[in-house]
């Protein structure tokens, strides 16, 4: 049997039974939604509708309504795309990589992080599609024979690799998330009284009966999907980084991009998970399951990935000098001291300095501070992409073509709009889906639940073993 060291902090606080877990997680779904939910949902919906309006205007008029120009053909659109894809990394990292590392604390956050991932990838996918200007020709990104009316795709282009990488990632993440939900939907199906929700959860749970055979298959599928998703966590953001790094643009073309983008994605993804979880645990009274220790673990991940990102920034800076290539050196000098210095230093402050504060234990265990830093990191990671993209191309090899990028109302509207759409999805998820994995949490109750961990028979068990040796 698994045994957990006495000095580890329990992961489930208080005296919870199996039944308590079911009740605690199902309650927010079964009760009427609190007023706060309606307020948040309305705000998110208004922003989302505004965003959709902006997208419609953009599609009707052309992408010239954005602030882009001949020199800066990519700006907020691709920045937002990378930002959202990055956020969409945490979910699969938590569900797959942390599963392989047997991190039990991931069970407090995996469900909602996976949901966040899926919605974030939806938002990310929006940007390349609307950047095409002709949304209805989106299928041209697929390798479909010319006879169909589209054009054969360019397999040498990393943008095409993105199409494959992101659609694979989305499919696997979606399946992984859904498989985990099935037993919990079945729990809800068996509990709800009203006929329509009962019917809905019944359909969603795919006739799950809870037999040993079901669980056996469930376990096998989970492990296979975890194995499949782990390389995907690396591949998606590596390929996103290839969009830039395969070019010959100083500031874009650098070999450290793939792993550094992956680290940055996990960094921003965890920050977003923190933002969401801190609200959910309070709103749904799940403090026993998502407590200070979980927040601390996530802050440590943020600190480590932030440090990796910081090391990569400094490596790039150093090598741009060491290389002796004038253009490389200028690209970085221009970032730090050129007209976009404010973006560069915002990025440095938010991404390099702020996560280092997590070395201080009281700070990384403070919920308010964590919430603040999680927002700061998300701002910083947006600036990182903006700095990489815009400052590298706004002054290229030809000084006559140098230019500046100023965002238009449409840039801002579409970006803010996706945040609104994201929250509409997320709030619906939180309202109707179990935000914690009920079945999985039950597997750690006996080993990591506070009342079981410190129960008297536990110590007896321990002393029995030490007498053997």
């Amino acid at each position: 049997m698994h045994k957990e060291a006495a000095i580890r902090e329990p992961l489930i606080l208080g005296h919870k039974t199996y039944h308590d877990i079911t009740v605690d997680v199902c309650k927010p779904i079964e009760d009427k939604a609190p007023r706060g939910w309606y307020v948040l949902f309305t705000i998110a919906l208004i922003i989302a509708i505004y965003g959709v309006g902006c997208i419609m205007y953009l599609l009707g008029t052309g992408i010239g309504v954005w602030g882009i120009n001949k020199t800066i053909g990519w700006a907020w659109d691709i920045t937002n795309f990378v930002w959202w894809v990055g956020i969409g990394h945490a979910g699969t990292l938590i569900s797959a990589v942390l599963l392989l590392f047997r991190q039990k604390w991931r069970m407090a956050i995996n469900r909602s992080a996976e949901a966040m991932t899926i919605f974030a990838v939806f938002m990310a996918g929006t940007f390349p599609l609307i950047h095409m200007g002709r949304l209805w020709l989106g299928y041209w990104t697929m390798p479909i024979p010319n006879q169909f009316g589209s054009l054969w795709v360019n397999f040498n282009s990393p943008l095409l690799w993105d199409v494959f990488a992101i659609s694979t990632y989305l499919s696997v993440s979606l399946v992984f998330w859904y498989i985990g939900l099935i037993p919990d939907f079945a729990t809800l199906r068996d509990r709800v009284k009203r006929p329509i929700p009962k019917k809905m959860y019944s359909i969603l749970s795919f006739g799950w009966s809870g037999r040993a055979k079901n669980w056996n298959r469930f376990e096998i599928v989970s492990l296979v999907l975890a194995g499949l998703s782990t390389p995907l966590v690396f591949s998606v953001h590596s390929i996103v980084s290839f969009d830039f790094a395969t070019s010959v643009i100083p500031g874009w073309h650098t070999t450290i991009f793939p792993p550094y983008f992956v680290a940055g994605a996990v960094f921003s993804g965890f920050a977003m998970v923190q933002t969401l979880m801190l609200v959910i645990r309070k709103a749904f009274r799940l403090e026993a399951y998502i407590h200070t220790r979980h927040i601390e673990y996530m802050n440590i991940v943020i600190m480590v990935t932030g440090s990796i990102v910081g090391t990569a920034y400094i490596t790039e800076l150093f090598i741009s000098w060491y290389s002796g290539v004038e253009y490389e050196a200028y690209a970085f000098l221009n970032r730090a001291t050129g007209p976009y210095w404010w973006a560069y230093w915002s990025m440095m402050t938010c991404n390099v300095i702020s996560p280092q504060l997590m070395w201080i234990k009281p700070l990384r265990r403070s919920l308010y501070f964590t919430f603040f830093i999680s927002i700061v990191v998300n701002i910083g990671m947006w600036f990182e992409r903006y700095v990489i993209i815009v400052t590298s191309i706004h002054r290229d090899y030809l000084p006559a073509a140098w230019s500046m990028h100023y965002p238009s109302h449409m840039d801002i509207g579409v970006y803010i709009g996706t945040i609104g759409i994201f929250f509409v999805f997320y709030l619906l998820f939180a309202r109707f889906f179990p935000v914690l994995p009920i079945a999985e949490l039950k597997t750690i109750l006996k080993s990591s639940g506070e009342s079981y961990k410190n129960a008297p028979d536990h110590h007896e068990h321990e002393s029995n073993h030490s007498s053997h040796h």
Binding site: M1, H2, K3, A5, H253, P259, A312, I319, W321
Partner: protein, 398 residues
């Protein structure tokens, strides 16, 4: 049961070292006769650098792994903790070998390994002049000494507290290791990259790649995991490490598998991006290597990537000692080959070949490496006591 070096192991390491010395001497004599001994300092220092760096890398990566386990509060590794410390026990010797190598190279004005140490060359080279502040003998030595001093201090500290924990127990030492582990990782995060630039990347003095440090680091980490798994299986075969069961072996196997992937991923990222952008200043690195070491270079990549991927994919394989040792030994030499090409590709180039000197120095330092590790294992009981996660590690099951 205390661990003692067996007669066979004793004989084996002595034979390795003796054979190594003989081959090296033959190699040196042959090289002296060849082309008036013109290439001797370069070839000798190149070989010294390959082997001292390769085996030093294994030791420091083991120390890194130990620090990682401390900082991440891992439990399963406790059963093999002394094995990790044993491999890290080569660190003082590795540092010694590196310093001897650097001293020899410095006294020979770079020995055509570090061209930037050669004043005649620097005089006519504007690119090197541009970074002369960083690539200068004095600053190089200051950096090197800072790296190795900090590494050694951490090594001795970890070792001291580990032995002390056996006697006093409690959680104070455990939490101290947790903190020290985290701070070691900070130093290592910086030094592993910068030392790879200083010691290896500066051989191709005009070339640069931001990923290079991480790539080198992943290679040594992978080799360290291989050494750990082979050593653990060896000790088990001798009847030691009773607490270690197939679950622990499985976990080390998973690390070998995972870090092989990490290395392959970084190799691919560096290669693909440079190949794709096709900027001559950057492609020169691969162009020279493919021109002179085509089979070895791609062979090395295939061995280090495909072997672990195909053979260690399944759960059973990672619990099968024969397979782990088979794959491990081959990939071990695959990574040695990687180091060989990193050093020789940028220095000897078309004149490089694997002869008596290459084999001799490899055997000599391999023999020393095995002997030092086995000796360091005799210095402390193989089963740790009082570690707070000991019970959790004993009950480890995957």
């Amino acid at each position: 049961m205390e661990f003692k070096i067996t007669k066979n192991a004793n004989l084996f390491t002595i034979i390795l070292m003796a054979l190594g010395i003989v081959c090296t001497i033959v190699g040196v004599v042959l090289e002296m006769g060849h082309d008036h001994g013109h290439h001797l300092p370069q070839r000798l220092s190149g070989n010294l650098l390959i082997n001292s760096f390769f085996f030093f890398g294994i030791a420091i990566a083991s120390l890194f792994f130990l620090a990682l386990k401390y900082a991440t509060e891992t439990a399963w590794y406790v059963a093999i903790k002394r094995v990790i410390e044993g491999v890290a026990g080569f660190l003082p010797f590795g540092v010694g070998l590196l310093l001897i190598t650097f001293a020899y190279i410095t006294l020979n004005d770079g020995a055509h390994i570090y061209l930037w140490m050669d004043e005649e060359i620097v005089k006519h080279d504007e690119i090197i002049q541009g970074k002369a502040f960083y690539l200068s003998k004095t600053f190089f030595w200051i950096r090197t000494l800072v790296y190795v001093t900090i590494y050694l201090l951490y090594y001795w500290g970890f070792r001291k507290r580990s032995l002390l924990e056996d006697q006093v127990g409690g959680t104070e030492l455990h939490y101290k290791n947790y903190k020290k582990g985290a701070t070691f990782l900070v130093f290592f995060a910086v030094f592993s990259s910068t030392s790879a630039w200083d010691w290896i990347m500066s051989i191709d003095v005009h070339w640069f790649s931001t990923l290079f440090g991480w790539y080198v680091f992943s290679g040594m980490w992978c080799t360290a995991m291989i050494v750990m798994v082979i050593l653990t299986l060896y000790l088990k075969r001798l009847g030691h490490l009773e607490r270690v069961n197939e679950n622990h072996i499985h976990d080390i196997g998973k690390w070998v598998f995972a870090i092989s992937f990490l290395w392959s991923y970084l190799w691919f990222s560096q290669f693909m991006l440079i190949w794709f952008a096709n900027i001559p200043e950057e492609t020169t690195y691969f162009v020279t290597r493919i021109a002179h070491f085509k089979v070895l270079y791609f062979g090395m990549f295939l061995i280090n990537f495909v072997f672990p991927m195909v053979l260690l994919m399944s759960r059973d394989a990672k619990r099968h000692s024969g397979l782990l040792i088979f794959v491990g030994l081959i990939v071990f030499f695959g990574h040695w080959m990687d180091t060989y090409i990193m050093v020789m590709g940028g220095s000897m180039g078309e004149n490089a070949s694997i002869g008596f000197m290459e084999i001799g120095l490899l055997l000599l330092i391999l023999g020393l490496f095995v002997r030092v590790i086995l000796t360091s294992l005799t210095k402390a009981p193989l089963d740790v006591k009082n570690h707070p996660y000991l019970e959790e590690s004993i009950h480890h099951e995957v």
